[in-house]
Symmetry: C2
Subunit: 353 residues, 2 copies
């Protein structure tokens, strides 16, 4: 098989940022083969009203008119049941929850789900999706670290699923065998996104390489194996959400300071410009190429209720030749630059344009 | 208590490198309060003969004449029982074993302990110490990663201890609760060094901060707790080996390349210039200041048989005032520079010079 046609690939978790970076990366989404993109709301300040989400969508449409942009709100004190009903009316798709302080721009994240139960009730009634960054904050006193933060979040996921049986809930960017097992065991209103890079990395590749550092961090080989097995299973609960998260290369490097600690590196891995070829390459690597269409298109589309007609927005891939599919070491734009995942390495598939 | 006097502090695991870096960092050992230093042999090429170890010692003596330098050989094919006997005669103290590829300059490391049994036998007879970097190489097929590499090494430690009951063995830079438990359970010929930075860091501080990246990596809060408890216990099996390992700041940052992946960051944390004040500061933080002399001096000296007379090479510490004990963000030398641990932060103790 040297060519593959996929019906309108979709990325159900992407960061396209603001300003110059937004201008650089937004067109990359289409370039990477994505036709429907579910946009994260962690801007500065966060997107906390339907109105702002629509404004942001206009900007994204202008930058990449051929992508269907699905918008979200950032769960926080501004999100009320009234705002949810307003959002539903104007076509906002979901609400993203960040535990406070866990990742990029999450300082406005939530501390307690209980206070948001009226919001979740409204979401359940209006058909909005709840997207969960599934990590509890680290706490040395309780032995909570980046290693077990996701596993310990699963209690919250189980409780939300039980308390809101008709609310669609997505555990975002799962990284552990325990998360895969938990989502598999829950009813069909609970789904799970998996990133491309977590199908490839383990913790060994993260320590010592800031460009592989993201939250949640990649875990043990057995965890990567569990993510791959979830894709291989063809279970429609599991689908692509790239969590493609560009950072200026400056913020991915420690900066030495005369009288202060070196700066820490930003968390995020950037995969948008090559996303569908990368996923094809990785799936082929573990014998799951026949699951590509389900993973990058139909599973997520069915869950979100955004079907695509075959033939209208298809993406065709072909095998790369000897020189093709090389990922550059750096992507430069006007006033922004970003180092992509897989930099300097070859992909086995490329998009036929 | 505003002053502490310690009898001749010793660091039983330190890297002082070669060339310009050696010239910069070797005097830091004394400056940090250390009077006896046990020197790692992972130069390029590794120190694989008694003769080279003595040459290296001459260089270190020239750079820091007031430190007693204890020398080691790098376990590899050049180390024969004959070389061990020669080394013993000229006062070499021990042999360091690196599993292949696990850390800085370990590409000549060993793959199988069995072939070195005649060497270990000679070491046992001659009274040389065996220093173990206690990690097995990562292997995704077996779910071995930087997270469980030390735990899985303990089988080898137990076997060596059983097979050579009179060989003194040191598990270097322990990072896990399991390692502490294992060493505690083994006979008195087995001891364990603990670094300053592993008494402070957890894995959360390592991901995203290359200056906190070293091998073995810092683990979970419960592991840090176990290291602190080992110090608190006053058990003489546990003593300071800083694993202070300077790297040029360039090698601690990822470098973007046009057509290749960004470079990975070197593994190592640098603590020498402030070592004894840093250890005092950290021990005080978990209520172990009364264990300072045992941890930084007498325990290791007893194990290695290098006693120190009280009053001869004492180091006196005092509490820092409001402005004192600030660790700089960068230490510059001629042709070399290094970012220290604790950069930009204050230490509660300083050396009275």
């Amino acid at each position: 098989m040297d060519e593959i046609t996929i019906t309108a690939p979709a990325d159900f978790h992407v960061h396209v940022r603001q300003g110059k970076m937004c201008e650089l990366v937004t067109p990359h989404v289409h370039q990477g083969g994505i036709r429907t993109a579910y946009v994260m709301p962690n801007l500065v300040p966060p997107i906390s009203s339907a109105e702002r989400a629509l404004e942001y969508r206009e900007e994204l449409r202008r930058l990449a008119p051929d992508v269907e942009w699905l918008m979200t709100l950032y769960l926080g004190p501004d999100i009320t049941p009234e705002e949810i009903r307003k959002a539903a009316k104007v076509g906002i798709s979901g609400v993203k929850s960040y535990p406070r302080g866990v990742t990029t721009n999450s300082s406005a994240g939530i501390e307690d789900y209980g206070v948001y139960y009226p919001v979740f009730k409204a979401m359940e009634e209006e058909g909005l999706v709840l997207n969960l960054h599934g990590e509890v904050p680290s706490d040395p006193e309780k032995n909570i670290s980046v290693l077990n933060a996701e596993k310990l979040f699963l209690t919250h996921l189980r409780k939300l699923a039980a308390d809101f049986p008709k609310l669609r809930v997505v555990l975002e960017h799962a990284t552990t065998a325990e998360a895969i097992e938990c989502v598999t065991s829950l009813p069909s209103n609970v789904a799970c996104t998996i990133t491309a890079h977590h199908l490839s990395l383990t913790v060994d590749a993260v320590v010592g390489q800031p460009y592989h550092f993201c939250k949640p961090i990649a875990k043990e080989p057995r965890d990567r194996q569990a993510l791959q097995s979830a894709v291989l299973s063809g279970n429609p609960k599991f689908f692509l959400g790239s969590d493609s998260a560009p950072h200026p290369s400056g913020s991915k490097h420690p900066h030495i300071q005369e009288n202060a600690a070196p700066t820490a590196c930003a968390a995020g891995v950037y995969t948008s410009p090559f996303l569908v070829p990368l996923v094809a390459h990785l799936l082929e690597g573990f014998g799951a190429l026949d699951k590509l269409e389900g993973f990058v298109s139909s599973h997520g589309r069915t869950f979100y209720g955004v079907p695509a007609e075959k033939g209208k927005r298809d993406v065709r891939l072909r095998r790369t030749g000897k020189e093709g599919g090389m990922v550059p070491g750096l992507i430069r734009g006007e006033g922004a630059e970003v180092v992509p995942f897989w930099a300097g390495k070859q992909l086995g598939w490329e998009i036929i344009s």
